[in-house]
Symmetry: C2
C-alpha cells in the first residue's frame, strides 16, 4: 500500500485525457518532468461528458474529511467538451448552458470554502476542447460498423471552447486555450488539423506536444511555484546522500519547501 510521499497532478476529462498515457501524450510528459516530485493520476474517461464526469469526480477527489489521509492534489486539469459538443440527439450531447454550468460546478467543488471537496492548495487549469476536423471525423464515422453519420460540427465545438474559456475567467481559474492554440497551429484551415488530430477528434503526438507546452506555459505564468524546475525531489539526488551515514540524508523532503 502506497504511503503519500508525493503530491499529485490529477487529470480529469474524456478520451483525450485518457489518451494522455500514450507515448508522448501529455500525461506521460508530465509524469516524466515531475518525476520524483509529483505523481500523475489520470482520471480521463473515454466518451464521458460533463454530466457523467461529475458523479465520477465526486468519488475521485477526496472530501475535506478524507484529505488528511490522501495525497494533496496540487494541480487539477479539467478538460471536457469534445463530447458535450456532440450534436443534439446523441447520448453524449449536453446543451451549451448546461455545459458551462457543469464546468463551473466542478471548479467550485474545489475552490468554494462551502464545498465538501474544498481544497485550497489545488490550482485548477481549465482546458478548452480542441477544434474538430469534420473532414476526418465524417470519414471515421462512416467507417464504423454500422456506419454512423457526422455527429460533430466545427462551429458548435468552437462555441463550447469559448464557453469554457468564459467560465474559467468568471471562476478565476487559469485557462489553457487548446482550441485557439491548435487552430492557430494549423493555419486556421480545418483540413490541416489532420496533423494534430488522428481521426478529427483525438490527438496525435504533435497535438499532445501543444497541450503539454501550453500546460507548462500556463503553470509558469499563473502558478510559477508549481513549475517542475522550482520543486525539489522528495528524496535527494544520489550525489547529495551522506555516504557515511546514508539514513541521515534519506528522510522524505517536502517538494514545496
Amino acid at each position: 500500500m502506497a504511503a503519500n510521499v508525493q503530491n499529485v497532478i490529477m487529470l480529469v476529462g474524456d478520451s483525450i485525457t485518457q489518451g494522455g498515457w500514450e507515448p508522448n501524450g501529455f500525461a506521460q510528459q508530465l509524469a516524466y518532468v515531475y518525476n520524483r516530485k509529483m505523481d500523475v493520476i489520470n482520471r480521463g474517461m473515454s466518451g464521458y461528458n460533463t454530466e457523467w464526469i461529475i458523479p465520477v469526480f465526486e468519488q475521485c477527489f477526496a472530501t475535506q474529511h478524507e484529505q488528511q489521509h490522501a495525497p494533496k492534489v496540487r494541480i487539477l486539469t479539467i478538460w471536457l467538451g469534445a463530447n458535450d459538443a456532440a450534436l443534439p440527439g446523441t447520448a453524449q450531447h449536453v446543451p451549451l448552458p448546461a455545459y458551462g454550468e457543469n464546468l463551473a460546478r466542478m471548479i467550485r467543488m474545489v475552490t468554494s470554502p462551502e464545498s465538501a471537496w474544498y481544497s485550497p492548495d489545488t490550482r485548477v487549469l481549465l482546458l478548452t476542447p480542441p477544434p474538430v476536423n469534420t473532414y476526418q471525423w465524417r470519414e471515421r464515422q462512416a467507417m464504423k460498423e454500422p456506419p454512423r453519420g457526422l455527429d460533430r460540427d466545427f462551429a458548435v465545438t468552437q462555441s463550447y471552447a469559448e464557453r469554457a474559456a468564459q467560465v474559467a475567467r468568471e471562476e478565476g481559474v487559469a485557462v489553457v486555450d487548446i482550441w485557439t492554440r491548435m487552430w492557430d497551429a494549423c493555419g486556421r484551415v480545418e483540413e490541416q488539423l489532420s496533423e494534430l488530430l488522428s481521426d478529427g477528434l483525438h490527438l496525435t503526438e504533435k497535438g499532445y506536444a501543444i497541450v503539454f507546452d501550453e500546460i507548462i506555459k500556463t503553470i509558469s505564468e499563473n502558478y510559477p511555484e508549481l513549475h517542475y524546475d522550482r520543486l525539489k525531489p522528495v528524496f535527494p539526488f544520489f550525489d547529495q546522500i551522506n555516504y557515511d551515514d546514508p539514513r541521515s540524508s534519506l528522510t522524505r523532503m517536502n517538494a514545496f519547501d
Copy 2:
C-alpha cells in the same frame, strides 16, 4: 486531494526504473494498458543502490497502520543491482552478499506477517539488473567532465543478476529475468547490447519493450488475475452508462470483482 479509487502498481528501483516514464518506457506502457484500472506510481531513484533505497522504501510503502487510508499496492516491482554492481571503491558499490540480503529484506518487508509493512494483497516481481555493455559505458565515462574510468564489469553485473534471481526463488516471489532476456535478445554478444542500451547502462525504447513484455508475461503466468484484461474499469465504459439515470450507473466499482 485524491481519493483512492484505483489500486496501484508501484515501481521501486534506480535510474532504469525512473526512466520508465520516458515515451515507450515500461512505466508509461503499464500506465497505458492499466488505464482506468490501476495507477502507476514510480519510485525509481537515479543512482540509488539497495542500501539507500531501503530507507526510502520504508517511507514510500504504507505501514499496516497506514494501509486503511492508502491505495492498495497490487503489484510491486523491485529492480535494483545496476548500481550495487559498481566496482569496489565507488560510493555506489554494495558487496554481493549484502545486495542479496537487502533484496530479501525488502521482499520480507511486504510478505512477512511480522513486518510493519506486511501487505498480503501485494504481489512482488523481482527484476534482475540488465547486462552492462562495457564498450559503451567506457566511452560514456571517458566523456564525462572530469573523465571517469570504467566502474562496471560485465561478469560482475551478471553475478548480481544471478543473485537476484536466486533471492526471488528463495523468497517465493516471481522473477522477471531481464538480464537473461536482454542477453539472449542481443545474440549473447556484448557489443550488440547497444541496440538495447543507450549508454551501456540505461535502456533504449527497444530495451524497455523487452521489460514491458516480460513483466506482462510474468503477470500472466504467475498472477493471471492481475492481468489488465482480467480487470474491470473502476468506472463503466460510456456505452454502459444508464443514460436515463446516469448516477445509478456511475458508482465506483472494484476492478478485482
